[in-house]
Symmetry: C2
Subunit: 435 residues, 2 copies
């Protein structure tokens, strides 16, 4: 899985004046930007695109954009179905971002020039189902909790579930239909974001950022590693990288503000990040499997519990069915394992036996950026000039519109969401630890 390990795990080496990384075909690298985004996943690209729409001068850097967790993600936009006890703050963020998705999708479809179907954005709801009697008891408890929260879900019998989704197993005992949940194809979203950035002339430099540039106490840009070589850069035009060089001959992207959006690698990728600004993210591995089907097997996302084990099945417009996802805490490990696939297949076939007939198109693993409180890190960091757009854990795709809004302060913050995401919320705790 080269794309999952494209962002290196080990501390970044000091950049030297090697062959310069050319800018992407979308635009030349200028001397300085209003905003420099480090990381080309769905979070970073969304921030860059929304900033460019506002008229900011933006550049982004990633050795392999759209290849990490965003590439492995299933793309559920399902804050209602995914609600978890004690995590009402995450629900608030999810609902606020879900409300932004229709406009985000429409504007991205238009801006990318790829048309209305470009994202495979679908709003047919999510069906949460229970397999065993233990799962049914948990489902009823969840339904009660959702009722307290005032969430719009309908409790269905097993038969009603199968009426909606005839491929569900007879053993499925009941379900919860969340009509307002949606889903999207994350690979199409990042492709559309890259297309929109290209149309707006935003350079997406195919190079790894290795260190922060600072002047006094303020971040002024990032230093880039030499280009990884031909073939990684898409539309890279060699020999155009003369502009943007730093004082020492290293390549530098200068910006008034730098956004750190390198997901699971946010805590390790950049030199010059002081301890007080280091984001507390850790890699949470997920393995998924893509199956190919001539006819669609499901008409909406199905999530379920099989004797407590979680699995979801996300249908794509082209008949593909995505099975996910394991959650493993093994450090920077992106191996697809026999056990990971076995768990996915074991549970998915209990809920939808017909999956066994489908062809295996792809198996992959990615690393989600987890945080101590499962909330993202979005907003100014302790280091002046450095912003965060990371720590989205399982919710990077869902939270992309809100992330961009909060970071760019596009629509104010009447709901008080910015404080929930503030990277500074771990400051006090950390200071106490150090004293």
């Amino acid at each position: 899985m080269p794309h999952e390990t494209a962002v290196p795990v080990s501390p970044a080496p000091t950049a030297s004046a090697g062959p310069s990384a050319g800018p992407s075909a979308s635009g030349p690298v200028a001397d300085a930007y209003d905003l420099v985004v480090v990381g080309g996943g769905v979070a970073g690209l969304s921030v860059a695109w929304r900033a460019a729409r506002r008229g900011l001068r933006v550049a982004a850097a990633d050795p392999a954009p759209a290849s990490g967790a965003s590439h492995a993600a299933a793309g559920m936009l399902a804050p209602v179905s995914e609600v978890t006890y004690t995590e009402e703050p995450l629900l608030r963020l999810g609902l606020a971002s879900l409300a932004r998705w229709p406009a985000f999708a429409a504007e991205l479809a238009a801006d990318s020039g790829l048309g209305a179907d470009a994202l495979d954005y679908r709003t047919d709801g999510t069906l949460e189902v229970a397999f065993g009697s233990d799962d049914l008891a948990a489902l009823d408890e969840l339904a009660a909790f959702m009722g307290v929260l005032g969430l719009p879900v309908e409790r269905l019998t097993g038969r009603e579930c199968r009426r909606l989704e005839p491929m569900l197993a007879p053993a499925v005992r009941g379900g919860l239909l969340a009509r307002e949940d949606a889903w999207v194809d994350p690979r199409r979203v990042t492709a559309a974001l890259l297309a929109a950035l290209e149309r707006r002339g935003v350079p997406v430099v195919r190079a790894r950022a290795t260190a922060l540039e600072r002047s006094g106490g303020t971040v002024t840009g990032v230093r880039l590693a030499p280009a990884a070589g031909a073939g990684t850069g898409g539309g890279t035009a060699p020999g155009r990288g003369g502009s943007g060089e730093g004082a020492g001959g290293d390549r530098v992207l200068r910006g008034d503000r730098v956004v750190l959006a390198t997901g699971a690698w946010s805590g390790t990728a950049l030199e010059g990040l002081p301890a007080e600004a280091l984001p507390p993210v850790r890699p949470v591995k997920g393995q998924i499997m893509r199956l190919r089907s001539a006819q669609p097997v499901l008409s909406r996302c199905v999530r379920g519990a099989v004797h407590g084990a979680r699995v979801y099945l996300v249908p794509r417009g082209d008949g593909e069915l995505v099975l996910g996802a394991t959650q493993e805490e093994l450090g920077f490990d992106t191996r697809v394992t026999a056990g990971g696939l076995w768990e996915l297949l074991r549970d998915a076939r209990e809920l939808v036996p017909g999956v066994t007939e489908l062809e295996v198109a792809d198996v992959t693993a990615g690393l989600r950026p987890g945080t101590p409180d499962n909330l993202p890190l979005v907003g100014p960091s302790a280091l002046p000039g450095l912003l965060m757009a990371t720590g989205h854990h399982r919710g990077g795709v869902l939270l992309a519109p809100l992330t961009a809004d909060l970071l760019l302060e596009e629509s104010g913050d009447p709901e008080g969401l910015a404080a929930l995401c503030s990277p500074l919320r771990f400051q006090e705790h950390r200071s106490q630890e150090q004293s």
Copy 2:
């Protein structure tokens, strides 16, 4: 899986005088050969190599050598462990070929120039284990049957099995150790065969044979399809195909004898094959999974039954562990399916729980050439000049040395094995059907 479908399923089109397929770098295509082998799997390449060693002028043709069932095979040389009720004739063939393997491996290692370890040929025996009490009862019956046949096996307790193979599950109840069974890496075997052929100047033409050439009632060669294009031919040298052209401008390999060795496609690939010579082969699909491990998980082949479901685990010298294999009769279907992988993982982890920790390196499916009596088709066909080396079903790798011997009549046939394999054995039956 392009390699599994490289040999086309549909009737071969008539060859036209297109861009000619050059010979491989191993030698130019001459006007005529003693032997022309159609099919570059382990059977065809073995015949070609042994014939060349005897001094015959040989050529072979395959659009993608070493890419079909030989590529997917696990490589067990285990006639003892694989013995099946009513199939004593197959056991006789297997034992006779197993006895030829040490010399075959040594000569191939030398002839290929790849050295003694080139084939990963290992003679540490096979352990057949039982999981459930039903499996243990079947194992005891099998042990009794093996005793009647006089086969050299040892009945072990579950504890004795785990002493030999500590990674076996505590639930394994007993086993049979067949010390004389062996195994080999089929991908290395075909690579060594190709290397040996190149060193002997035998051309392996990267082109598909489409039709038999006949003169009177006798086969005189095969017509070849135009080359599939650059990149498929390995060392193909364009522009050297002028020699060997047929009367109509089509490319032809002329040979005193033609050997049909196209595995599951032997009944469909060649025009001009009369009904009475058509081999009764059918595709039997197998799916396998290759796992990667830093340390070897097993020290010998482990085969087992888990509540009647068969699975085997074959260790490679580089730490790889091969899990196989399903048997499905679905026609020319080489899709890797969710259900196929699930069955492999379900049963393999019952026997060796540690497999769940291993990385998935590769999943693939191949088509074995099955026959009505599960015995191969080796020897002269009803059509003068046409020989068969096909129908090896699960035993192509094991039976390769014997196949070459029988076909080339290298060592006589004191054991009367040729009659067991004769393609003519279905003649009488077929004539009765037609009358």
